[in-house]
Amino acid sequence: MNPPMIAVQNLSVSFKGPHGPVSAVRDLSFAVEPGETFGIVGESGSGKSTVLRAIAGLVAASGGHIRMAGEALGLRRTKAQRSAMQMVFQDPYASLHPRHTVDRALQEPLAIHAIAEPERLITTAMADVDLDPALRFRYPHQLSGGQRQRVAIARALILSPKLLLLDEPTSALDVSVQAEVLNLFQTIRSTRALTSLLVSHDLAVVAHLCERVAVMQRGTLVEVLTAEALRRGEARHPYTHTLLAASRGYRRVGSPHEGMPLAPS
């Protein structure tokens, strides 16, 4: 049997605080199978993004192990490991260099990893995320939010990574643009052998894209369940139920109408 694409074992991360170390992630374990889309949900401060950053090697773990396809990840990621895992951040306004054109943003990972044929790869990468080739020499400020996020996704995919780390990739987008980006992820998933880890505060987004979901609260993992079970409200932990109820929307006390669900009839 193949080892999991990502196996996190007893991971702990703590940060320096003014009154001693602050523990952001405590004793967390989970495994993501190859080809799976795995979600992590939680509220601000739950440590969900820190888990992603620890996997990417952007923050140091203070305890535990992370293995990628059976290979232990050390304190620093090797060049090969870095090209095998790529990250997409929340805010495409902040994650793209304002004075680099789309072309330059896509050139950079290829140059770093000394990959031949940048021309062909850039054209393909742009086509893969439905970016008009005419936008290739534009600057980020000349693009819409959705186009920018497509550039960030193209930049992540251009190295053909095995693992995609998505940190709130649609939270800064309007609902119509979010729909386009989520649909793009669906297409990418069906056309590539790719494992994805999606971090989001939005249960509906996670249930839409992922097969399994981990729920985090205050640095710990409260439970892992399938998206199906989440939809059906078959959570074991009370916190998951709290999150589910909150996500279905606010209800006025004694409200004459149900409020939710908000599906077009």
Binding site: E43, Q178, Y250, M260, L262
Partner: protein, 280 residues
């Protein structure tokens, strides 16, 4: 016999911005009437929803021009007020709660100072009296230990707490109209719902009118009585909040279909196709 005057009347409101010779029509002929009720204004970025709220408060920046055939609070014309006259309305009779308490609270002022400032600006009272009112107001926004929170600075507050303090500061002068612009968008969903419950209760208890501006259709459907949907600076649809799921306009329906749903799995999300005819 006198007709009841609506709390707020907006008729043919247009806002135009001129920057470097480029003219942008941010709001085009928007009309609505608000009673002592909760009106939601929904739309995506650039729909003109926030600018509409700003225009009602006389807060459109200098390079923008506002026109309306009627803009009245309790029958009083707001269209030709001087800055000095506006100050008697803003804060005292109408107030604004914005998205992020991190930016709307003064970082070097204690909570007490920020809340009592609003109170003392509009009433002649002693500091002790103002403090008493501030503490009562914090209790009204469900803060358990007002005496402690009054001494804190904004950086010592969580997002939800900050937004409660903001609401307390805005409501202490007992305005008739509250405009909340993306007031829960920076908050976690559980905290956001708590803030909605507080707004809901205060609006009912004080008989205020509320304009709740948001991109979040779920929140608007849960909180409001009526909803106005804006697109490209125009109102494309107005309906009762409980009927939002059965909205008629193709744009509103597309927005509903584009959102992933917890209750019904959708293989792919509908993309929002925009019809240029909506803008004519």
């Amino acid at each position: 016999m006198t007709m009841t005057v609506p709390l707020l009347e907006v008729r043919d409101l247009s806002v135009t911005f001129r920057t470097e010779g480029v003219v942008t029509q941010a709001v085009r002929n928007v009309s609505f009437v608000l009673g002592r009720e909760r009106l939601g204004i929904v739309g995506e970025s650039g729909s003109g929803k926030s600018t509409t709220g700003r225009a009602v408060l006389g807060l459109v920046p200098a390079h923008g021009s506002v026109s309306a055939s009627r803009l009245a609070l309790n029958g009083e014309d707001l269209r030709h007020l001087t800055q000095h006259q506006w100050s008697r309305y803003r804060g005292r009779r109408m107030a604004l709660v914005m998205q992020d308490p991190k930016f709307s609270l003064n970082p070097i002022m204690t909570v007490e100072k920020q809340i009592t400032e609003a109170w003392r600006l509009h009433r002649r009272t002693t500091a002790a009296e103002a403090r008493k009112h501030a503490a009562a107001m914090l209790e009204a926004v469900s803060i358990d230990d007002p005496e402690r929170v009054l001494r804190l600075y904004p950086h010592q507050l969580s997002g939800g707490m900050g937004q409660r303090v903001m609401i307390a500061a805005m409501l202490i002068a007992e305005p008739e109209l509250l405009i909340a612009d993306e007031a829960i968008s920076a908050l976690d969903v559980t905290v956001g719902n708590e803030v909605l419950a507080i707004l809901d209760r205060l609006v009912a208890e004080r008989g205020m009118g509320l304009i709740f501006i948001s991109h979040n259709l779920t929140a608007v459907a849960g909180l409001c009585d009526r909803v106005v949907v804006m697109y490209g600076g125009r109102v494309v649809e107005e309906c009762a909040a409980r009927d939002l799921a059965h909205a008629r306009h193709p744009y509103t329906r597309a927005l509903l279909a584009a959102a992933p749903s917890l209750d019904e799995p959708r293989a792919s999300l509908a993309s929002v196709v925009r019809d240029p005819a909506w803008l004519t």
